[in-house]
Amino acid sequence: MPDLGKYADAVLSAYGASLVLLALLVLLTLRRGRRARAALEAVESREKKDG
């Protein structure tokens, strides 16, 4: 860990907030994508079954 001196709080909170926001963005994107894929597969399989 580098010595951040008197600005340690500012630097660490900037990195913490940014990484949390980026992680949330990626996770929510992947979750929404998986749900959309599953929903489409369900509708398509029902369509095939019903002919």
Binding site: K6, V11, L25, A36
Partner: protein
Amino acid sequence: MSVTDDKPAIKRPSGFWSYANPVKFLGFSERILPALWVLSAACLALGLVWGFFFTPDDFRQGSTVKIIYLHVPSALMAINAWFMMLVASLIWIVRRHHVSALAARAAAPVGVVMTLIALVTGAIWGQPMWGTWWAWDPRLTSFLILFLFYLGYIALWEAIEDPDTAADLTAVLCLVGTVFAVLSRYAVNFWNQGLHQGASLSLDKEENVADVFYFPLLVCIAGFVLLFFALVLYRTGTEIRLRRTRALLARQGRQ
């Protein structure tokens, strides 16, 4: 003359425009997404670790200079995401390609998070350097308005049920909001005042940041750009699937 010669020829789009076909677009994005995810994660990890652990403090700003590796790339992507949405919206308005409208929609939440990161890191950096979290400086103010435009753009997509009407209206909102995307970039040059400095990455060597900060910053920017493309491609695929699901459900409901 054969019978088929009398039929009007169907002109299929080629090259770039062929990706307006949702199936072709999905195939393309599925192929390149794994590489994009890996490359963006590698660049972000390398750039941030290099910048955080292996660069010196600035003689004036101390260790707060390390915030540059998040603040500059996120601000750059916040502005350029809007420009990407502008291009996609113009393609929708002119050529009526649905994938283009959905790509603009998919980019907005990514842009809003980039804008939020730029605003938050800017405030955290501004407090020790300027003595204030916020100032009504031209660049900061236009950035805040850009953030509000992003929120308005997302809300408008959600508020209108008919997807083509939503695409039309959000495209117009995107054209209007472009003024603030441009101002976020050039406000410092237009109004030679305010706290915020000019460009950090300039071709003018006198204005540019020192090399020791510049190279890790470039890697971080590459990471943010690649992450943006990965997220937008993935999210556009999601929007295409959701649209197809709605269309199939509507058809099944009619039968």
